[in-house]
């Protein structure tokens, strides 16, 4: 008998279930309470708004990238930092009610690598500063002298990446100057993107290192109650067409679906499209982690002549994290061709 083992009888330790941790992040549909609410007409200030908004319940820095290796092999990459507040304030040290969660993933045609990190605010383990820009959790970071020049790193047990991002166009404000309505009842978030990053760098995979180049899309969003009570999840698309045009579109599923889209011309000109202008219809489903998830979609944006089929590069891009969801690169065909990213939430039961 190992004496050292026995001493641990006296030293119980406990662990919260990750499910419990997820509560903090999954309470999207609950009342905003004392938290601030997005205001229509609030003018976003940069670089300050690149930083955290601790008085809002939920916030994210969400980067996805479509890349190719030297031989043309397609890859997808995700780097996300979520902030979730238990109370609408910042506090010092362990007393901080801010919780941070990082997700990183690399997707190939036949593999999907995922890592997750959790951290408390207030002690320096995770956070975001606006200028110089730095968003970090543990050893993962998205940082640079300014928002247009960033280095992005993350590592899991089986994979890592280290890539540079150079903005090739302006920031894009969704909805009404960055005020993005999420339901007919008026739920909304502040939402802007930088969809014009050119990416270059290196992936580390079990099969070895791969040099990659491609394009990345960063979403910034914060809110306190982005979903209405009856909304069960969303399907979100970011597409980069070969023509240089881009579009963002989402469907919030609920009693009545709510859609929204943004058309981003190659020159950066932005037009927001109202509820109903955009439609997305599942065309095929795949069995993913014990669920049926739509992995081929028919998208239509008649106002811009878009009628395309969006197909997952790898149908098994399931994020088996505390809050599970599907997130992966897609290929676009039809009236327009190109690549993009698809995120689907609310398929976890």
């Amino acid at each position: 008998m190992n004496v050292k083992v026995l001493v641990l009888c006296l030293m119980p330790c406990l662990m919260l279930s990750l499910q419990a941790v997820a509560q903090g992040f999954a309470g999207l549909g609950t009342a905003a309470g004392d938290f601030s609410n997005p205001l229509r007409g609030r003018v976003l200030q940069f670089p300050a708004d690149h930083g955290a908004h601790p008085d809002f319940r939920i916030e994210w820095w969400y980067l996805t990238a479509n890349m190719t290796g030297p031989d043309g092999t397609p890859y997808g990459l995700q780097w996300t930092l979520f902030r979730s507040a238990l109370a609408p304030e910042e506090g010092a040290g362990w007393a901080s009610p801010q919780l941070w969660m990082g997700h990183a993933a690399v997707t190939t045609r036949d593999a999907h690598f995922v890592a997750e990190r959790l951290a408390r605010g207030g002690i320096g383990q995770a956070g975001v500063t606006a200028a110089p820009f730095n968003a970090w959790i543990d050893d993962w970071a998205m940082a640079g002298p300014d928002f247009g020049n960033l280095r992005l790193t993350a590592a899991g047990a089986e994979f890592a990446f280290d890539v540079d991002l150079r903005a090739q166009g302006p920031l894009v404000l969704h909805g009404d100057a960055g005020y993005s309505v999420k339901s007919a009842a008026g739920q909304a978030s502040h939402y802007y993107s930088q969809p014009f990053y050119a990416l270059s760098g290196q992936l580390t995979l079990p099969s070895g290192d791969v040099a990659v180049t491609g394009q990345a899309w960063l979403d910034r969003e914060w809110s306190s109650q982005p979903l209405a009570q009856d909304q069960t999840g969303w399907d979100w698309f970011s597409l980069s067409f070969d023509s240089g045009d881009k579009m963002m579109g989402f469907v919030l599923r609920g009693g009545q679906d709510y859609t929204s889209a943004t058309w981003i011309a190659a020159d950066g000109a932005v037009s927001a499209l109202p509820d109903g202008a955009f439609s997305a219809v599942p065309l095929a489903r795949s069995r993913v982690a014990g669920r049926d998830v739509p992995t081929t979609w028919g998208l239509r944006l008649p106002a811009r002549g878009v009628d395309v089929t969006v197909t997952a590069l790898n149908t098994q891009a399931w994020m088996a994290t505390s809050v599970p969801y599907w997130e992966g690169p897609v290929v676009v065909s039809g009236s327009h061709t190109g690549v993009g990213y698809l995120e689907m939430t609310g398929y976890d039961d």
């Binding site: 008998m1 030293m11 119980p12 406990l14 919260l16 383990q125 050893d139 899991g156 089986e158």
Partner: protein, 796 residues
Amino acid sequence: MRRAVLSALLAHWRHNLLQLFTLLAGLALGTALWSGVQAINAEARASYDAAAATLDEGRLAQITGREGAVISQATYVALRRAGWAVSPVIEGDLGGVRLVGIEPLTAPRGVGPVSAVGDLTGFLGGVRQIFARADTLARLPAMAVRAVVSPSIAPNTAITDIGVAQGLLGRAGQIDRLLVAPVQPLNRAPLAQIAPDLVLVAPQTGSDVARLTDSFHLNLTAFGLLSFAVGLFIVHGAIGLAFEQRRAMVRTLRALGAPLRSVIWVMVGELVVLALLGGAVGVALGYGVAAALLPDVAATLRGLYGADVSGQLALRPVWWLSGMAIAVLGTGVAGAGALWSLARMPLLAAAQPQAGLVARGARGLAVTAAVLLALSGGLAVWGQGLIAGFAMLGALLIGGALAFPPMLAVVLGIGAARARGPVAQWFWADTRQQLPGLSLALMALLLAMAANVGVSTMVSSFRLTFTGFLDQRLASELYVSAVDAGQAAQIVGMADARVAAVLPVLEVERVVAGVAGGVPAQIYGARDHATYRDNWQFLQAVPQVWDVLARGGGVLVNEQLYRRAGLELGAMVGVAPGVSLPVLGIYGDYGNPVGQVILTETVFVAQFPDVVALRFGLRMDAGDVAGVRASLRDLGVAGGAMIDQAAIKAVSLAVFDRTFVVTTALNILTLAVAGFAILMSLLTLAAMRLPQLAPVWALGLTRRRLAALDLARTVMLAAGVAVLALPLGLALAWALLAVVNVEAFGWRLPMYLFPLDYLRLGGLALIAAGLAALWPAWRLARVPPAQLLGVFRHER
């Protein structure tokens, strides 16, 4: 039509409320026994899991400051930011209570009981929470935290968030140690580069106690299955009687033109309703029983039964379903047989000739029992794997139970043949005739008793083994681990003057040569000291084993190595190149998966001169422990590096004692339920027996005498049950310890016998049976003569 049939069948219950009650009570008790055992089992599992989970922490590497120095919070953040998946822990004393602060977001998955903390918002948001047992909470000073009772936490320990703990201990920004997650990300910077003053302590290999409790776990599961079997017998008995009693009515209904199909469907429906009703009551009763037995786990149970406790909701349907399943399954099995015989019953059947029925039934049972027992024996000899082990257990028990009535019939036949007086002769013959009506209840009693003998033997053997093992391995009053050789020297220097003996733990891992081409094993060097001579027990050993060992004349090996390498006493073991020594003794090493070899210290030092002892056992008077601890702390030894043997034993034994309380209570409960089954059978038989008793009474036996004979008969049958239950229960214990355990874990628990316990158990069984027979006997003693005379007057 169906309505008419239904009302006729239901009318039976209205006029026989007692029967309805016994049927429902039988169903409910069978279910309650099962679900109560399940509830307690779940609780036992939870507490063992908690122990195992905390032990799992021993499988984790840890990072500590050199010489017990504290770690700054900045260093923790720096390590995290360098990619180290580590989680901070702070420990300290708060009003005599050991306070542990943890960080829930980074704590490695699977460390500690999840149920201890409800939800994250409660733990981290608003007023912070502190978790401990109720008695521990009562000893804590008043603080601005919310106290949460959590029985799964070790005694005298409180757990809270690290931020709260730092505040309460007045140690802001300080951390005592870091738990290192088993899976680490790529590209992590080396520890020496980030924090050169910290040391990485490798994880412990093999978690002995966890494995030992795993075994216990399995045995409790077996107890659950046994209680299921007892419950099944009782439910079966209740249903069978309910059908038997209504045969005549069914015959009449059919004679009046009700189609058989309608009658059967109505009865099936009635059965389902009864099963659900009885099952629901039973599950609730089981909950009550479990809650009464373990008041401090009522909260956990409420979670199991449906309250909103995060992470446990998934258990709820399983819980209810398993309880209802036994009711419906038991009803189904019993009902199918009864309905089958009902469907095949000729419309105008004469009463079944009873004696013939006895003979035929006994023969059928005997054949089935023989087949099952043979199967069990075959599985014991040739079976492989855990499933075979459990199948063997099941066949043994059911076979044993089924063998009882035929065996009893033979015994009663012999008794009848040897009986001298007419009353004795009648007594034996009449007992034999009653056998079919009583055999189900007797089999239930047999199973209950066998289960009790088996389980109490198992639990007690387990306890003896475990405490003996603790005494053997934890003989020293205090254990201390040094960080490095320097500290080790300091410790020895200080301790030599203060304690009776310093016993270094010298260890090296090597492939032991010469046996089956080489087996990896831990090699220990033991100092020749009375501590070992007095406390160690051997499975096998040569004479004067310690003297021979001290001369360097051989080695000791543990049971695992002995079994794996097929060693015998005297076999040569190559411990180092060119050094082979004979096996002098084999010792039990419960739970440890790794082979071990023990050399005497001089031989060890000669063979492995580079190995420095970093761990020491210190022998001293129990009263000196506190002072020596303080001195060690002054040398910079961290609190976690000192282990107080008495405290470890106390915690381990506390876990066992709780199990004993529960096991004892369950024993009594099982017997009570079996006693109730006997009561039910006797009450039912009472009405049917009047025609058998009336002639004897008319011929000159008083009612009182008849009642006394009935009472004696039941006690005699119970004694017969006890006599058979003992070997069956011991066989069961043997199967659990020597077959199932070996299949599951690869080592065998020694079996001890506890004759006094068995005697007490037998006494309890006789009392239970006697109590059950008391009321029917009393009723018989008071039966009005007119009722007896009625037998001669009426057609049946």
